[in-house]
């Protein structure tokens, strides 16, 4: 598969959120605004690319019986690295994403790509696969974040175009389920059936 295809397939055809339904917890929890969704996507992208590369390197020497624990430790290492970097350079983003940064460890997208792709492909291909899937995840989270921010706070990326509060329910828990549900319906109707 060409490098270009590796990147584009994660965006629509194998979109981790709308098609594969992976990583639902951060998708619902962190998309209260466009900027939060975007940051969460990029944080996951970071871990995904590094862990994919590391796992494609070590996969040949890891005994089959213990490969899952080994992969989880590798992923947890990169997540810890990410926590340090975010605390140092973007503490406000780290504070608003909170618990969901350490929880990237148990995000099934990361372990899923390690199992399904990185452990049997070259390091370069694995890196591109990580970028593709990570971008697909970032794109979906940003779109959900934009919709929820418009409906819930009447703003886009923090720029307010409506006076007043907007429909608060969309920033809170029910809005997350409803927006993702309806976006999935639109995706099924117009994108997936081609």
């Amino acid at each position: 598969m060409s490098k270009f295809k590796l990147i584009t397939k994660g965006l629509v055809k194998d979109n981790p959120t709308f098609v594969l339904l992976l990583g639902m917890c951060p998708t619902l929890a962190t998309t209260t605004s466009a900027i939060n969704g975007l940051s969460m996507g990029l944080a996951t992208l970071f871990v995904l690319v590094l862990s994919n590369m590391a796992i494609s390197l070590i996969a040949p020497v890891v005994p089959d019986k213990v490969h899952i624990p080994v992969y989880i430790v590798v992923i947890a290492t990169f997540v810890t690295l990410l926590q340090f970097l975010m605390q140092a350079f973007v503490p406000s983003v780290y504070a608003s994403l909170g618990l969901f940064i350490p929880l990237i460890v148990v995000n099934c997208i990361v372990l899923g790509r390690a199992e399904a792709f990185a452990n049997k492909n070259s390091i370069v291909d694995s890196a591109f696969d990580g970028i593709g899937v990570g971008l697909g995840f970032t794109l979906s989270l940003t779109v959900i974040g934009i919709v929820r921010e418009i409906l819930g706070s009447g703003s886009i990326f923090g720029w307010k175009f409506l006076a007043g509060d907007g429909m608060l329910a969309f920033v809170m828990a029910p809005g997350a389920f409803l927006v993702l549900g309806y976006l999935m319906v639109l995706f099924n109707k117009f994108v997936a059936k081609k």
């Binding site: 339904l21 639902m24 917890c25 619902l28 929890a29 624990p69 989880i72 430790v73 947890a76 290492t77 997540v79 810890t80 926590q83 340090f84 618990l99 350490p102 929880l103 460890v105 148990v106 995000n107 099934c108 372990l111 329910a169 809170m172 828990a173 029910p174 809005g175 997350a176 389920f177 409803l178 993702l180 549900g181 309806y182 999935m184 319906v185 639109l186 099924n188 109707k189």
Partner: protein
């Protein structure tokens, strides 16, 4: 009084699935049938309570005394993975019938973010429960974890009941499967928002 507040707040007000978005994967994945949902909830309840007890002690007596708090994420996930394995082995020996009933759900729990989420939450966040904000003691932490997992079970059982009814209805094609489940969950979450004035 405080005990009651912890229980009500963890089960209803801050429901782990419908208000905190933890453990969504099994919430959507195994909620098709009431019986499997109950089995999963029982397994999760068991592991969350046990994992919180063990990680709390490890954090307090090992990581904090040695100044290794930054290893929290790695240490906790390893403890949870080992614990799930151990629970599986012990159950197989001690109570084969319960082991049979929980079946495939046990290994899946390692990657259920509700377990790691609760374990990290109780050692890093300050809670109020009608008192000034404070870090939880061991007893409170375990009680909070147990009540949270009961809330998980409540959400699972309610949702799977709804989905059993949904399966009998004629749903428009684009809505079938996960989209209608998500919309149902949204309405359920709206109902749970009604509890937010209590505690």
């Amino acid at each position: 009084m405080e005990i009651l507040l912890i229980i009500v707040s963890a089960i209803f007000v801050n429901n782990i699935v419908l208000a905190q978005f933890l453990g969504i994967c099994p919430f959507l994945g195994v909620s098709n049938k009431l019986s499997t949902a109950t089995g999963m909830s029982a397994a999760v309840c068991f592991v969350i309570t046990l994992a919180t007890l063990v990680t709390y002690l490890i954090n307090k007596y090992l990581l904090l005394t040695l100044g290794l708090e930054f290893l929290q994420t790695i240490a906790f996930i390893l403890v949870i993975a080992a614990l799930v394995q151990m629970v599986e082995i012990v159950l197989k020996k001690v109570s084969p019938s319960l082991y049979q009933a929980l079946g495939i759900f046990l290994p899946l729990i390692t990657t259920n973010c509700a377990v790691l989420g609760v374990a990290i939450n109780v050692v890093t966040k300050e809670f109020t429960f009608g008192q000034p904000a404070h870090m939880l003691g061991l007893g409170e932490a375990v009680l909070y974890a147990f009540a949270t997992s009961l809330g998980y079970g409540l959400a699972m059982v309610l949702f799977s009941g709804l989905r059993e009814h949904l399966a009998l209805n004629n749903v428009p094609k684009a809505f079938r499967g996960v989209p209608i489940a998500l919309i149902t969950a949204g309405i359920l979450a709206m109902a749970f928002m009604g509890f937010s004035g209590i505690a």
